[in-house]
Amino acid sequence: MAQRDRSLREKVVSLEEAAGFVQDGMKVGVGGSTMSRTPMAMLWELIRQHRKDLSISRCIVSTDGDLVFGSGLANHVVTSWFAQGILWGLSKVMRHHVENGGKRYEEWSHMAVGMRFRAGGMGIPFLPTRAMLGSDIVGQRPEAKQIDCPFTGEKLLLVPALNPDVALIHVQRCDPYGNAQIDGLQFMDIDLAFAANSVILTTERIVSNDQIRRAPDQTKIPFFCVDAVVEVPYGSAPHECYGLYEPMMRHMEAYVAQVNADPVKGMQEYLDRYFYSPKSWNEYLSLIGMDEVLEATQKGRSIYND
């Protein structure tokens, strides 16, 4: 932290350039939750660049978890829930890689994941919680320590700070310096941004610093946490971005059917078609299709209809 450049400076780069901030084997925090504000374009680029062996932590993991295991981008996922989505039952991809493939799914309670990011963001080594006690999860997590509270005598669980090397966060808008404003659901992204030692922002649009300064109480991530800013419209597709588009459900359903039918070959074919073949993110969106993208947009914008 001490040596980091915290000056107010422009950080706009391409997806390709931003990927340079992520090295093989790093601890990477992924913003959003489930099918919401997933930094999909950044994950897409990292998979295309064949990064590997990342340890990924996230609020709730959905198809992004399949993709990072299936592509080899990650061999370790820290979260509280890992499937494609409640509508589709178990993820055959996660099961394949965890039950047979030697990849690790490290499970904490949902609040514990949040408290680990929060401790990281607060600059303290741990936070006390009252969850996980009594469960069998706690036995699997020697990283956490049970104590008798020095004030009340009651049992508490101390969960250790989690400070990712890099966080990938997708937002509705930010300025070229990285001052980001997030609408709607925040998930764990604010704590994650402060906890990470570096942040790559992808954003639906880059706005002027003047616009940010007109409503400073809407800024959720300050520029000095951020190292790269990439403008990527529909950067969460086929997941949703609050107020702009809902999940692209036909694509999701086809994806789930394909990879659950064969978690290795089905995944490889999906990655070939949607990740490795397209020349650009816009070409990837074209493969999802204009109909799906516009239907998701119409639904996404409707949250502000009265």
Binding site: S36, W81, M111, D136, G184, D189
Partner: protein, 256 residues
């Protein structure tokens, strides 16, 4: 027309679950039947009910026909009173602002412990399940209602792994583990409504669903069941309940 034809198993599950809620409560609801049942309660008997979702939503007012695919989707926030961070909405449980948690379950045991992590030996699992999500936090910190399918493989004497604690090993073991408040309060299935003995903390049948026998419940359960001394039969879903439920979920997203 018989009772069994008037509604599906999922429908009676949702309706009986909704009946467990009281007006004015703050309920932390999971995705699926809990979300649907809490919304049903809100639109029938409980207009002052406050529904919380894991994604960070306080005071949800889900639109009919637009049920969200997860509790982290933007649809959950439509006409809500507040949007919080995911950790902050869970902290409401820890601070004591939540009256009742309401979840689905994959596997439950006689002391109300839930498993959503592993089938088989956790070190070399037969099946790696999705994991706890908010389940562990909710069940650790408040009173729980669980709505789940009634199958012998799901109702077991001892779960393979305690993901979300009920009464652990019964008696005072929950409190002794460091969880002084909350605990399993009701389990609802398509066959019966269950409670827990105040002392032993073992599950027991409080009421049979309409048209269901004691034997049918026992036969679908993987351990010997106790029946409450005041065992009764639940009154069937009303037309109003069924109509409201079908209005909320016309596509049968959660009531297939």
């Amino acid at each position: 027309m018989t009772e069994a034809q008037r509604y599906t198993a999922s429908e009676i599950l949702a309706i009986l679950s909704a009946r467990q809620l009281q007006d004015g409560q703050v309920v932390f609801a999971g995705i699926g039947v809990p979300l649907l049942a809490a919304t049903l309660a809100q639109r029938t008997r409980c207009p002052a009910l406050t529904i919380l979702f894991e994604g960070g939503v306080v005071g949800a007012f889900v639109e009919p026909g637009k049920l969200p695919p997860s509790t982290n989707d933007q649809r959950c926030t439509k006409r809500a009173n507040m949007v919080l961070g995911s950790a902050d909405v869970l902290l409401l449980l820890q601070r004591g602002y939540v009256d009742v948690g309401f979840m689905g379950g994959a596997q439950i045991d006689q002391f109300g412990n839930l498993n959503s992590s592993f089938i088989g030996d956790p070190a070399k699992p037969k099946t790696r399940l999705p994991g706890t999500g908010g389940g562990n936090d909710i069940s650790s910190l408040t009173n729980m209602i669980v709505a789940m399918k009634h199958e012998k493989r799901r109702f077991v004497e001892k779960v393979d792994f305690i993901t979300s604690p009920g009464f652990i090993r019964g008696g005072t073991s929950r409190r002794d583990s460091g969880l002084p408040s909350g605990g399993m309060w009701r389990v609802i299935t398509e066959l019966a409504v269950f409670g827990f003995d105040d002392r032993t903390r073992r599950i027991k049948v409080l009421a049979l669903n309409p048209g269901v026998s004691r034997e049918e419940v026992q036969d679908n359960t993987g351990f010997r069941l106790d029946f409450d001394e005041n065992l009764h039969v639940t009154s069937p879903p009303t037309d109003h309940e069924l109509e409201t439920l079908r209005m909320l979920d016309p596509d049968r997203l959660f009531t297939a």
